[in-house]
């Protein structure tokens, strides 16, 4: 989906363009939120809430401003705030289980290789959760949500150089920690 054309469509008619925005971005936002919060229920709530807030904001923006938005990065600024707030609340109320650290149950439990792949993914997710916040956010936005660096920078409100080195350091740390405790 061409995001600048989508921004133009939204500037033209929010009611028509907005559902397309949700369709285009929901998978990335959900997958990212799931890996940042560790909870499937939280990720679902956050994804929904992020789009509701985005809609409210878009309704108040003049068309020119909407047209110039880097939509993915912009929606992620909202989603990241929600993820962060949720993580803080979770630290204060740690009794609630974090079901999402585990990887999605295989819908059709298949051959052994798949079970193995599932365990491996779970392992990776656990190590990913140990990275400090801005680094983890940068890694998740870049590689799980699939944002280009420029939009990761917008989402995190940090310079693109910082974001690149965060992702780089994040991957190094992740690789190290996976080697130390495979």
């Amino acid at each position: 989906m061409d995001m600048s054309r989508l921004a133009a469509a939204i500037a033209e008619d929010l009611d028509v363009g907005f559902p397309r925005l949700v369709r285009a971005l929901q998978d990335g936002v959900f997958a990212g939120a799931l890996r940042l919060t560790g909870s499937r229920a939280d990720a679902e709530e956050i994804t929904q809430e992020a789009f509701v807030r985005a809609h409210r904001a878009l309704a108040g923006y003049p068309p020119d401003r909407v047209r110039d938005l880097q939509l993915r990065g912009w929606v992620w600024t909202i989603a990241l705030n929600l993820c962060r707030n949720r993580a803080r609340t979770r630290r204060r109320h740690p009794e609630e289980p974090l079901d999402g650290w585990a990887v999605a149950p295989d819908p059709a439990p298949g051959p052994e290789q798949e079970a193995l792949a599932g365990a491996e993914r779970e392992h990776l997710v656990r190590h990913l959760a140990r990275l400090p916040w801005p680094v983890r956010a940068a890694v998740v936005l870049r590689h799980v949500a699939g944002l280009p660096y420029a939009e990761v920078a917008i989402a995190l409100g940090r310079p693109i150089g910082t974001v690149k080195s965060d992702v780089h350091r994040g991957l190094q740390a992740l690789r190290r920690s996976l080697e130390e405790e495979p």
Partner: protein, 257 residues
């Protein structure tokens, strides 16, 4: 891409299906549907904030919502009742047969089809007009076939009474909602004597005039139906009526050839 980033990419997964309908509902953008009784059985009527989007017969709500998503590319949620104004307008359209000002959301319908549908919506209940009449009224005389196609893909049947447009030879013609027979059912339910209309047309009669008012009409026009037998004059074409000094009815507008 190295092995680690490939493993991160593998952590992607699709958002749950509940997210889009939830967001649209909370932002007031969700389309909804209600069911209404009709002579053809329960009718599903869907609407957006802008107006009615789709009308269809369906066996189940699931079948309707599936069809809706496939056709319009967005989800539709069940509603207890539409907003009061829309509910009143729907009642007028489906019970009294008068589309009037039912708001319609015809995104994806081109200007020609929209003109056809708006024109069809002007035909009063229990009356019919030929395809050619619609073509002429919307400024495209002769495009009868295009009018037929536009009506065949009417997304809001019954609300826009495309069943009131029939063939010039008097036969009721095709109907897109269910079977062709449904068209007769709907017209009969509105009080049109379909057989009498067809018999008249089979004899070549296309217009009826009144010897007292010297006005000629489409046979199903409410004014034509009031003409007493003694004063009823049959015409095969507008020219014949005009030649003997009749003028066209201002309501059903059978135009002089």
């Amino acid at each position: 891409m190295n092995e680690l980033t490939a493993r991160l990419v593998a952590l992607r997964e699709p958002a749950p299906a509940s997210i889009l309908p939830g967001v649209l509902d909370r932002t007031g953008l969700a389309d909804h549907f209600v069911t209404r009784a009709s002579p053809l059985g329960p009718l599903f009527v869907a609407y957006s904030r802008r107006g009615v989007t789709l009308v269809d017969l369906a066996l189940t709500a699931e079948a309707f919502t599936r069809r809706y998503e496939a056709l319009l590319g967005r989800p539709v949620l069940p509603a207890a009742e539409p907003p009061a104004r829309l509910a009143a307008a729907l009642e007028r359209a489906l019970v009294a047969g008068r589309t009037g000002r039912v708001p319609l959301d015809l995104a994806g319908v081109g200007p020609f089809q929209e003109a056809v549908l708006r024109k069809a919506a002007e035909i009063p209940p229990g009356e019919v007009r030929p395809y050619g009449w619609v073509a002429r009224e919307i400024g495209h005389p002769g495009s009868d076939r295009a009018v037929g196609n536009a009506l065949a893909t009417n997304p809001v049947p019954l609300v826009v009474p495309c069943h009131r447009v029939v063939r010039a030879d008097g036969r009721v013609g095709r109907y897109s909602l269910g079977t062709d027979a449904n068209k007769r059912v709907l017209l009969a339910a509105e009080g049109l004597d379909v057989e009498a209309h067809e018999r008249l047309a089979a004899r070549g009669v296309r217009y009826l005039g009144s010897a007292t008012t010297r006005i000629y009409c489409h046979p199903s026009c409410r004014h034509a139906r009031r003409i007493t037998e003694r004063h009823l004059v049959e015409f095969r074409d507008p020219g014949a009526a005009v030649r003997v000094g009749y003028r066209p009815c201002r309501d059903c507008r059978p135009q002089a050839a």
